[in-house]
């Protein structure tokens, strides 16, 4: 037993250094989340970092849908959200769906679904989802806690939140439609 004491100490030191370096790199890479310039700044930065979505980073209006494959109400609202995309999509309006699940899993799930979302998709981004949950103006929980409910729909126009609703209902979708109508 005495023989393996020193190798274990060295491995522990090595792994701790590796872990700390990894966490430090993450905090430096995502330090833009601490930017309080405006609410949309971290979202735009994440878009710029995404190869497929970087061109959409400067859209005036960002319509965000937070969802997951296991969320039944999220699936129910897809066809209704697709109608909104057809009505309001333009050069300055980005419809962005964000999920914390991996792309391969979502694409595999999509193969068995009746409706496919027309939103631009951002996969595997739990960090951005947590940030958006934290923007909820309807604070009902204790300080430091956020309500993480799906689906969540948000409209950000000129870096200000115009609409923020969690959960699925026809009234909430009508309200979203009317908010987008006023921006048209």
């Amino acid at each position: 037993m005495r023989d393996i004491k020193y190798p274990i100490y060295i491995v522990l030191t090595f792994v701790v250094l590796l872990f700390l370096n990894n966490e430090w790199a993450k905090s430096r890479a995502f330090s833009f989340y601490n930017n309080n310039e405006n609410v949309a700044a971290p979202i735009r930065e994440e878009l710029r970092r995404n190869e497929l979505l970087s061109d959409e980073a400067e859209a005036n209006t960002i319509v965000i849908n937070l969802w997951a494959t296991w969320c039944r109400p999220c699936q129910k609202e897809i066809p209704k959200l697709n109608v909104l995309v057809d009505k309001y999509e333009s050069e300055n309006t980005l419809f962005l769906a964000i999920t914390g699940e991996e792309e391969a899993k979502v694409l595999d799930w999509s193969n068995y679904q009746k409706y496919e979302s027309s939103y631009f998709q951002m996969y595997d981004n739990r960090r951005l989802m947590d940030y958006i949950f934290g923007l909820n103006p309807n604070v009902t929980l204790k300080k430091g806690r956020t309500q993480q409910r799906l689906p969540t729909n948000v409209v950000i126009h000129n870096d200000k939140i115009l609409y923020y609703e969690q959960g699925y209902s026809e009234e909430k979708l009508s309200k979203l439609d009317s908010v987008l109508m006023t921006l048209k």
């Binding site: 020193y6 190798p7 792994v15 590796l18």
Partner: protein
Amino acid sequence: MIKQEIHLLRSRRIIIPIVVLSVAFLMLATFSYWRSSKLVVDHEIASLVSNSAFQSTTMALFFMIWILQATIHLISCGYYRMMFTFGKSRTQLFAYVIKQVVLYVLLFMILNFVIYAIVGLFKGLAPWVLIINSDINALISQFLFLFLSGIIAVCIGFVRTNHALILPFVIYWFLEGWIAGLIKKKMEVDVGRFFPLRISKQIISDQFLTPLNLTLIALISLFLLVSLNYIIQRKNLA
């Protein structure tokens, strides 16, 4: 220990590989600067060059060959056996070998930086520009990756003290990726991420380390260090 190592480095069997390494670095650095100058200009070249240097696995291959060759030489010439004559225990030999690996990693990284700085001067880049544009996390990752690579090489050197091992090792280095790709193609199973070299290469990859990566790296380094300790405790170095 430093004085001992400086004395060792003066040996022809150690200094010749260092000269060969320097030539290899010179070629790598020249190619890296040439490729970067095609893509970006001015101080951005320094950033691109330093990032590509920190993520280079070719350097690790050179390092492992050097460490393997040095270890085999130090065992064959009786240097480690001589330490027992001077009253060192096998546990102390194990600690000494680990310290040697750390020292050689630092020496290797300094040599690499000096070569890149010299080539950079010819391209109009001052050495401090290279330092300012280097990412500290990438530097630490490279140090840890080279340390793990050095431990792999030392283990192989202690298991089979034979210079003829270097060629099969180089062949395995290049084959591992191909084998992983072949298995994935035929069996649709990604076992490549469990191969030892691929696990260690995750340390310097673009992606952040996941808990699975960290666990696999911890397991492989534990296995290597326990094996090395076991071999040193039992091996007849005569």
